[in-house]
């Protein structure tokens, strides 16, 4: 085929419009924007590149051009694979496939028909450098992972694979309406504009309409039979010209966008547009879809941000499911077209809308032109009028329904549940009123009798609603007329005054019932809001209390299931990021723990869906764009920095998850829980780091202990022992004795070191367990002095004890250690010959014990640091232990609920005091 096409290759405009915070009113390149661009470029570097071959209609040669490009790449040595190509029986195109690797399509079966589909998983597994996937707008058959092919392509690109694809202008979402208007053909398969504008490269394949028609006639586009049909409908010359124009314009827009991006990148700020923000209000009527598309076009023309909102009033809560689905669908389309969407609720659509518009700094509001009989305008203010009245500086755009297109009547709001009991009660009230009136008649004026009926009617209006109150009013009027107004027992009225009575009664009934209903509705809306706020508040408070991921997960599941009937589980990834079967799952509020050996298996390939949701940080499964045929929805627990896991939710009735407020609540719960879980994870990580620092320190101390503190005595022992063995004869008795003394002394020193190491392990366990008993401190001091006989040699010890010190509750062995550590400490840090004083004094609720030496004391400011682990007064001292003695004392005394302190005594020397409570803890 000759290539008469003109090709315009356009670089890629921004992946998405630079996100600006809503309060930003000017467009100077602020740091956030620049950061976003850097991030943008980083993600683009990891992502594959998407190239779109873009055309006005089928038959312009997109597939041909794409395959040619693919062949060129292949010739350059690129790993090219054909993922899927639509041949339409065109031999020229088919010839181009020759020599290219083709991915086998995935067989699918739908309602007994065998189908084939592009195999996404095979493509991801094959991982070519460049993949060819025709027809971006194609809708996948049920059973594929995504409903749309463009979603497959997005995943491929995200996985780092370059993709070539084709698309026609009529498939662009925002142009859908325009194309439909021009051609009269409603295109069902659409591609969101953002996918198109996110493409790294767009190549326009342009073919003049006449040539296209020639090719059609030659049978190069469709097989001849189909071609004739096509020529009569879609391929009219007028259509082709219009479509070509649209395609050229779309391409030109990209050029424009590219230039704008260049300007922003290079800080050329002169022509930056004013910041527009457009709000479109959608409702249940089909016109809304048009509104959304118009808004999208307007937003893209003015480079504005735009929002699509749905205002739910109490009346609309009762909409039928189909209408609600349509609203959700409209909002989803709006989201795909780049809008921010919101669900608002309020009593009045106009007021809520204006409120929201003002808080979000909206400059234009788009609403639909109401389709309704003119007479209603006289009685009821339309939404448009109300909006215009309240809008202030905001522009209101009113879009009309299409001429000639019959807009289906707005859906009727169904009546609420049967009210027959209310009508019966109304009858009863009227009957009572009649009874009372009969008793009164004759004795009271008729005007008073009518008051009884009025009272009854008012009661009915206030309690039972409009219908019953009207019934009550009419019945009351009739009965009053029949029974009490002359002529009696006939409906005739002699006095026209009574007509006024009737009218007043009817009006009062209507008015009061309306007011009562309004009041009730407002109360119920307020209650609902209050409930939701309370729920979220309670939730965040509860979440803050949970300390482990597991607790948080159970809590989340319980809360989700309190509003949705079904089963749920939190699925967490293992260390490698593979989602695991849950340890617990909960079915309608009754938690079932899976046995520890067998985790509750998630049915079918749902675990795979959960994995997908986790990997892509997007929801998947039921009611989503990804694997919608699943019976459960999988929502990722996205925290600020990472995805914590996935919530699997299988509702008993799948429609529960389509209700926006339900899903909104679930998502709010999930967000809060995810943040709480991240907090827990971070706290755990921080704690781990702390523990690591501590254990690192411990390791160092141990290493130095083993290398120095142990080797020194060992060296002496080995030296002395070997001397004794090898040169026994040469040694005199005196020298032998000296060596033996050294041996013994050094061995005892090692024994002390081992004792210290044991203490270290006791301390690092973190908790001291006491075996409480009654301890006589005098006895304990005596025992310690006996045990430390050798250590205290050369230090006269004086005792100042009361004659009968009270017994204290405590652990004798532990307290002995406190005393001996303090005494050893005193002996070690003071010169020989200096005295050590031990004192005890009983207070009213505690016993105080003091150990005082007459050495140099310690440096001021050391008072508290002395009790820290590994603190050593003189680090290089050969006599050193591990600096643990006092830390152990502190830990033991505090385990006894006592206190310990150190000070330099007034007369010189260090003094340590500790107290022990006299009463055992309760």
């Amino acid at each position: 085929m000759a290539a008469p096409q003109a090709r315009f290759t356009v670089p890629r405009p921004p992946v998405k419009r630079v996100v600006m915070s809503p309060t930003d009113s000017d467009r100077r390149p602020d740091p956030d924007v620049l950061l976003a661009r850097v991030r943008d470029e980083e993600t683009r570097a990891r992502r594959g590149r998407l190239k779109v071959f873009f055309g006005a209609t089928a038959g312009v040669g997109k597939s041909y051009a794409m395959l040619e490009a693919a062949r060129r790449q292949k010739a350059d040595g690129v790993d090219v694979v054909i993922g899927y190509v639509e041949l339409h029986g065109r031999p020229e195109t088919e010839a181009l496939l020759d020599g290219l690797e083709i991915l086998p399509p995935m067989p699918l079966e739908h309602r007994g028909i065998a189908l084939t589909e592009f195999d996404l998983d095979a493509a991801l597994a094959r991982r070519p450098a460049l993949l060819i996937v025709d027809e971006l707008a194609h809708s996948n058959h049920p059973g594929a992972r995504h409903p749309k092919r463009w979603q497959d392509v997005e995943e491929l690109v995200a996985a780092g694979i370059d993709v070539y694809t084709t698309v026609n202008v009529q498939h662009l979402e925002s142009l859908h309406d325009v194309v439909a208007q021009i051609t009269g053909v409603d295109v069902r398969e659409t591609v969101p504009d953002r996918v198109f504008s996110a493409a790294d490269e767009v190549e326009l394949i342009d073919l003049p309409p006449d040539e296209l028609l020639d090719r059609l006639a030659e049978g190069k586009v469709y097989v001849p039979d189909k071609a004739r049909h096509a020529a009569q409908n879609f391929f009219r010359k007028g259509n082709l010209i219009a479509l070509r124009q649209l395609a050229l314009r779309a391409t030109a827009d990209r050029v424009d966008a590219a230039m704008r991006e260049y300007r922003e990148r290079h800080a050329i700020s002169a022509t930056w547009a004013a910041n527009e923000r457009i709000l479109v209000c959608v409702g249940p009527d089909p016109l809304s879809m048009r509104l959304v598309r118009s808004a999208a076009r307007m937003a893209s023309a003015t480079h504005a941000q735009w929002l699509a909102v749905y205002v739910e009033t109490p009346k609309l809560v009762r909409l039928p499911q189909a209408a609600r689905d349509r609203i959700l669908q409209t909002l989803r389309v709006a989201g795909e077209l780049g809008a921010e969407t919101a669900n608002l609720s309020g009593e009045s659509v106009a007021a809520t809308l204006i409120d929201f518009a003002k808080t979000r700094n909206v400059s234009r509001i788009i609403v639909g032109k109401p389709l309704r009989p003119r007479w209603r305008d006289r009685f009821d203010v339309s939404l448009v009028d109300e909006l215009i009245r309240q809008s202030g500086t905001i522009d209101i755009y009113v879009i009309s329904g299409e001429a000639g297109q019959e807009s289906p009547a707005p859906p009727r709001i169904p009546k609420r549940s049967s009210r027959w009991p209310n009508y019966l009660l109304a009858l009863a009230v009227v009957a009572v009123a009649t009874g009372v009136s009969t008793l009164m008649s004759g004795r009271f004026e008729r005007t008073n009798v009518v008051m009884v009926y009025l009272l009854g009617t008012v009661l009915v209006a206030a309690r039972f609603g409009r219908g019953p109150s009207v019934l009550a009013a009419i019945l009351s009027v009739c009965l009053f007329d029949f029974l009490f107004v002359p002529p009696q027992y006939s409906f005739g009225v002699s006095d026209t005054q009574y007509v006024i009575t009737f009218a007043v009664m009817l009006t009062a009934a209507l008015l009061i019932s309306h007011l009562a209903a309004l009041g009730k509705r407002q109360a119920s809306v307020a209650r609902q809001r209050e409930r939701r706020a309370a729920e979220l508040y309670a939730l965040s408070r509860e979440l803050a209390r949970r300390r482990t991921i597991d607790e948080l997960a159970k809590f989340l599941v319980r809360h989700v299931l309190s509003s949705i009937d079904g089963e749920a589980a939190v699925l967490l990834p293992d260390a490698e990021g593979k989602i695991q079967d849950p340890e617990h799952f909960t079915d309608r509020g009754s938690p079932r723990a899976a046995s520890s050996a067998v985790r509750y298996p998630v049915p079918g390939n749902d675990l795979g869906i959960a994995q997908w949701a986790y990997d892509h940080r997007k929801k998947a499964g039921l009611h989503t764009d990804t694997l919608a045929s699943a019976t459960a929805m999988f929502l990722p627990l996205n925290a600020l920095k990472r995805c914590i896991g996935v919530l699997g939710l299988r509702p008993t009735d799948p429609r529960q998850l389509q209700i926006p407020e339900q899903l909104g609540l679930v998502e709010a719960l999930i967000n809060q829980a995810a943040v709480a879980m991240e907090r827990v994870q971070l706290a755990e990580a921080a704690q781990e780091a702390d523990v690591q620092v501590a254990s690192e320190k411990l390791r160092n101390v141990l290493l130095s202990a083993i290398s120095h503190d142990f080797r020194t005595p060992l060296a002496t022992i080995i030296g002395s022992a070997s001397t004794l063995r090898d040169s026994d004869a040469a040694l005199g008795a005196e020298r032998r004795r000296a060596l033996l003394d050294t041996l013994l002394h050094e061995a005892e020193r090692m024994n002390r070191l081992v004792g210290n190491l044991l203490d270290l392990s006791r301390l690092s366990e973190g908790r001291i367990e006491l075996r409480r008993d009654w301890v006589a401190i005098d006895e304990l001091i005596g025992a310690v002095l006996a045990r430390l006989h050798g250590v205290l040699d050369g230090h006269p010890v004086t005792l100042a004890l009361p004659p009968e010190p009270p017994l204290v509750p405590g652990d004798e062995v532990m307290l002995e250690q406190v005393l001996s550590n303090l005494l050893e400490n005193a002996a070690r840090h003071t010169p020989k010959g200096t005295a050590i004083e031990i004192s005890a004094r009983a207070g009213s609720d505690a016993l105080e014990v003091g150990v005082r030496d007459h050495g140099p004391g310690f440096a001021t400011g050391e008072e508290t640091r002395l009790f820290e682990k590994f603190h050593q007064a003189r680090p290089e001292s050969a006599q050193s232990g591990f600096g643990l003695g006092l830390a152990i004392c502190k830990a033991i005394v505090e385990a006894h609920d006592g206190t310990i302190s150190a000070r330099n005594a007034p007369g010189g020397g260090a003094e340590f005091r500790f107290t022990l409570p006299l009463k055992a803890p309760a």
Binding site: L744, A786, E812, V813
Partner: protein
């Protein structure tokens, strides 16, 4: 001396300690057999019937406590326990199971020999030799037959419980008695969980017996375990 050498059985798995004790005890006139595991030790004890059993609490097969429990079913002679430091509960358990005394590792040979001498004396007492009617505790004399306690000929007045406490310790002189054993002996089985009485009476007893009650020479505290009346080593040496 002409009397037969005392036979010992050491149940201990560490070869270095085995060697050290074999050498040292042989030099001091004891005949020592060694068993490396608890089961082996029990078998050897049954066949050899040693005079004194020395059991290490940390054995490779069964715990030393089990060895004591099972040995006590048929073995009535002294059992000496070797244990690691800061295992006071194990020591108390061993004593309550019927062990006679304990030694904390590491220990010097002198300590072991002292314990063995005490054990030998109790062995002699058990085999029918009449005990001394008089016990000398420093300058204090306890006349068991006359129920009289004197210091340098002057009477010391003891309450009945103090007297009982002193004589109980004296009967097992040199051995450690756990709080529980003392409480049971003096107050009866119902009071074994009330050691505070014991501390008060011990304090009172020290005031009367010891020259410096704050640094007792005779009535010794074994922290976390119990009490011991110190053996009068000088007199022990002279009597043998």
């Amino acid at each position: 001396m002409s009397e037969p050498r005392t036979t010992l059985l050491l149940i201990e798995d560490d070869p270095q300690i085995q060697r050290f004790l074999s050498t040292a005890l042989d030099a001091h006139g004891y005949t020592l057999a060694v068993a490396g595991t608890g089961e082996e030790g029990l078998k050897a004890a049954a066949t050899r019937q040693p005079d004194i059993l020395i059991v290490d609490l940390g054995l490779p097969d069964i715990s030393g406590l089990d060895v004591i429990r099972r040995a006590r079913e048929w073995y009535a002679r002294p059992i000496l326990v070797l244990s690691a430091r800061d295992k006071e509960t194990d020591k108390v358990a061993a004593l309550d199971l019927g062990a006679d005394d304990y030694l904390t590792k590491p220990f010097g040979i002198g300590e072991l020999l002292a314990r063995l001498r005490v054990a030998e004396r109790h062995l002699a007492a058990r085999s029918g030799a009449p005990g001394d009617a008089k016990v000398r505790i420093g300058d204090v004399t306890v006349d068991l037959s006359a129920h009289r306690v004197q210091r340098n000929g002057a009477d010391i007045h003891l309450t009945p419980i103090e007297y009982q406490l002193l004589t109980t310790l004296a009967r097992h002189r040199g051995k450690v008695l756990t709080h529980r054993q003392l409480l049971r002996e003096i107050w009866g089985a119902a009071h074994v969980e009330s050691p505070q009485y014991l501390r008060i009476y011990m304090r009172a007893l020290r005031q009367k017996i010891e020259a410096d009650p704050a640094r007792p020479r005779w009535l010794l505290t074994e922290v976390g375990v119990g009490y011991r009346l110190a053996d009068d080593l000088a007199s022990a040496n002279t009597t043998i």
